[in-house]
Amino acid sequence: MRVDHVTDNQGLVLDGVRISLDGRVLVALDAQVGRGETLTVMGPSGSGKSTLLAYLGGFLDPVFSASGRVKVDGVDLTALPAEQRHAGILFQDPLLFPHLSVIDNIAIAIPEDVRGRKHRRSLAQAALEDADLADFGDRDPDTLSGGQKARVALQRVLVSHPRILLLDEPFSKLDADLREQTRQLVFDRARRAGLPVVFVTHDAEDARAAGGALHRVGQP
């Protein structure tokens, strides 16, 4: 497992986070999200909720100005570049890398300090098995069904050992059945991995299912 300079065990702390555009404050937030807990951010489209995720992930467009601090277990992420934050993210689309096989999509996410080809591959295979996709490793990702793709995307982000998990309306494109199932799976795995989750949605039912704290942005 990753060895961090862990100074506490509080999970994600948002300390006086303010994001503004042309002097207009879009998001103002103080919050603590413990390990395995979820902070749901709700708001209409264009309200800045995805901007918050971009800020947390480290890819905020320079047109926005932001202040405040983001810490995970005492590690300050605010000044780190995106690739050193280990902020795993799931989008509306699964966005599997189309040129890699299903198993390589997962293997590429395994941290660099995990050495040995065989070892890495067996970890990826285990992740596939965990998603009931044991025999799908050599498949072309584009031939999977929507639900299968979503599961691969979830496993991909989990094997990278993120510090936090950012969800950018990842269920909004799934149909009702699959949506319920996938939602449960994602929150279940995040809890099991002890990940603080920030969940952005405009769907009230999503918000209810997530449990945890709720923060509204934009006009009510």
Binding site: G57, G58, F59, D61, P62, P81, A82, E83, Q84, R85, H86, A87, G88, I89, F91, D93, L95, L96, F97, P98, H99, L100, I108, A109, P111, E112, D140, P141, D142, T143, R156, V157, S160, P162, L166
Partner: protein, 564 residues
């Protein structure tokens, strides 16, 4: 964000230096001798004498005017055909067919297309053979001046068939930025015909995007040398051809005149561009008038048929020309008016190949090296643009187009003077650099759109997985964009293969390519040898495109998400 690809920082300034350095130094190197300053030839005083001499050269104004007319007519006809075809056939199966033919059409070098056209339309050419003697009653070639005609009609035709695929390509690249399907439907639901819907609603935003490419066509057609040598008029020739004659004059004094002429060429191209802007205004006003009277122009079949004919005809001429070139290269005895040679032989190839190996090696290595440099710089520039979010403005685009809009001949003269002065003329690096000035813009233009269209969220996911920018670039972006990258490489390769003027001037006759050798054969008129060289000249870029199209399909044959 701090963790970018390190080398990418250097790429934008280096790219600008490669694009603008030769341009600036070249123009200076042309302007100084034009004003009498060239110490190596004893010119140390500034004078306007050479411009006075230039003004007194017989037929110089006719040559200049001819170049302007060629520039405007070529652009007007090719742009009209492309716009008419897109208007009338957007979304049809014919449109898709034409679209598939773009790459092979673009890959044919200008000189090869010009030779092909000459072999088709000459008095003893293929077309005359096909209709003789049963239709014309001729058993000897008619005594007609079809090629090299004084009005430059055949030269304009040769340029038009090659500019059409280029303008079609840039138009296709601009269309996705507009909501073209909805716009055309909207126009037609208001009762306008296809051509009217297109002209009133879709063309203005499309044209705004392709304007610089159109300027490049105007500039190219006013200053082209190789096509003019093959198809252009002789008495007097167009201005660029006269400049080359003076440049090659054994009397070195003629260099001053040539330099003054190259500055005149700059003016000629500028006048053509200003006239083109005037035509744009006039066209806009005319479209405005037609729009205001509210007529629907529903009966546009004749116009559509015309556009389709020119479009299809241009493709047929290029492909047909190449076929005739190939036929001549293996023909034995082939008398007029026989439609086919009476015997076939490899003799022309056998004789030409040993002599061709040197130029072939130069062609291949210069094209390969310049393309690789251009590709690396382009990818790093685009990566830098991605990291900083800057650099996609109109200013940057103009800088990239600048070497394509300033006439080649006006700054290549100066570069030659400079390269001789530095002692690097006829050296491989100098030739690569000269080609790079033209390869780089085309590689950049063909890669930037797919690069920018790439879904950024893939990069964000990779960053979230802890992958560095360099690793994301190598493992995610480059493989996902492999098709676009290889296509850009093929474009760069074929641009380099087709370069005539930079090769002649910087190669100084000692470094020759298949293209310079082929054009040099134009005056001789040996069709079999021309057939061999021109066919070879076509083959290299064609292979590059075949690899670009075939390789990703092979490597990613099991990856449906990467199919086009």
């Amino acid at each position: 964000m701090t963790g970018g690809v390190r080398l990418a920082r250097l790429a934008p300034p280096l790219t600008l230096a490669i694009l603008l350095g030769p341009l600036a130094f070249g123009l200076a190197g042309t302007a100084l001798p034009a004003l009498g300053y060239l110490p190596d030839l004893g010119g140390s005083d500034f004078t306007t004498q050479h411009f006075t001499e230039l003004a007194e050269v017989p037929g110089i104004w006719r040559s200049s005017l001819l170049s302007i007319v060629i520039g405007l007519v070529t652009t007007l006809v090719s742009l009209g055909a492309v716009a008419g075809f897109v208007a009338s056939d957007l979304g049809t199966s014919g449109f898709a067919r034409m679209r598939r033919m773009i790459s092979p059409l673009l890959s044919v070098p200008h000189a090869a297309a010009a030779f092909g056209l000459a072999f088709l339309i000459a008095p003893s050419g293929m077309i005359m053979r096909l209709v003789s003697p049963w239709l014309t009653g001729l058993d000897r070639p008619p005594d007609l001046l079809i090629i090299n005609d004084p009005l430059a009609l055949s030269m304009m035709a040769g340029l038009i068939v090659k500019e059409i695929p280029f303008l079609f390509l840039v138009t296709l690249a601009a269309l996705p930025q507009t909501r073209h399907i909805e716009t055309m439907r909207l126009g037609r639901s208001l009762g306008y015909g296809r051509v009217a819907s297109f002209t009133f609603l879709l063309w203005p935003p499309v044209y705004r995007q392709i304007r610089l490419a159109v300027f490049a066509v105007v500039a190219y057609a006013t200053s082209v040398v190789d096509v003019a040598l093959i198809l252009g008029p002789h008495l007097p020739p167009t201005l660029p051809v006269r400049l080359i004659d003076w440049m090659n004059d054994p009397d070195l004094e003629a260099r001053f005149l040539a330099s003054a002429g190259a500055i005149l060429q700059l003016g000629v191209t500028l006048v053509a561009l200003i006239a083109w802007v005037g035509l744009e205004r006039a066209g806009g006003a005319l479209a405005g008038l037609m729009r205001h009277n509210g007529r629907r122009w529903r009966r546009d079949m004749a116009l559509r048929a015309l556009a389709r004919t020119v479009m299809g005809g241009s493709a047929a001429i290029v492909f047909g020309g190449i076929a005739v070139l190939a036929l001549w290269s293996v023909s034995g005895l082939w008398q007029f008016p026989d439609a086919l040679p009476s015997s076939f032989t490899w003799k022309s190839w056998m004789q030409a190949l040993p002599r061709m190996s040197g130029p072939l090696g130069t062609t291949f290595s210069v094209a390969l090296v310049s393309t690789l440099i251009a590709l690396t710089l382009t990818i790093l520039c685009l990566e830098r643009e991605y990291e900083t979010g800057r650099g996609r403005g109109g200013g940057a685009l103009l800088l990239i187009y600048l070497p394509l809009i300033v006439p080649q001949i006006s700054f290549m003269f100066g570069l030659q003077v400079l390269s001789i002065w530095l002692g690097i003329d006829a050296s491989f690096p100098a030739l690569v650099l000269a080609h790079l000035v033209f390869v780089l813009p085309y590689v950049f233009l063909s890669l930037s759109d797919p690069w920018r269209a790439h879904d950024r969220r893939h990069d964000l996911i990779a960053a979230g997985l802890g992958m560095s920018r360099t690793r994301t670039l190598v493992r995610i972006r480059l493989p996902m964009l492999s098709r676009a990258i290889l296509t850009a490489a093929a474009v760069g390769f074929s641009v380099s293969v087709g370069q005539y003027l930079p090769t002649v001037l910087i190669g100084a006759g000692r470094l020759t390519t298949v293209t310079t050798e082929a054009v040099a054969l134009a005056a001789g008129g040996n069709r079999r040898v021309i057939g061999v060289y021109a066919f070879m000249q076509t083959l290299l870029p064609f292979l590059a495109f075949a690899i670009a199209i075939g390789l990703p399909g092979l490597v990613f044959r099991n990856r449906r998400g990467l199919r086009v």
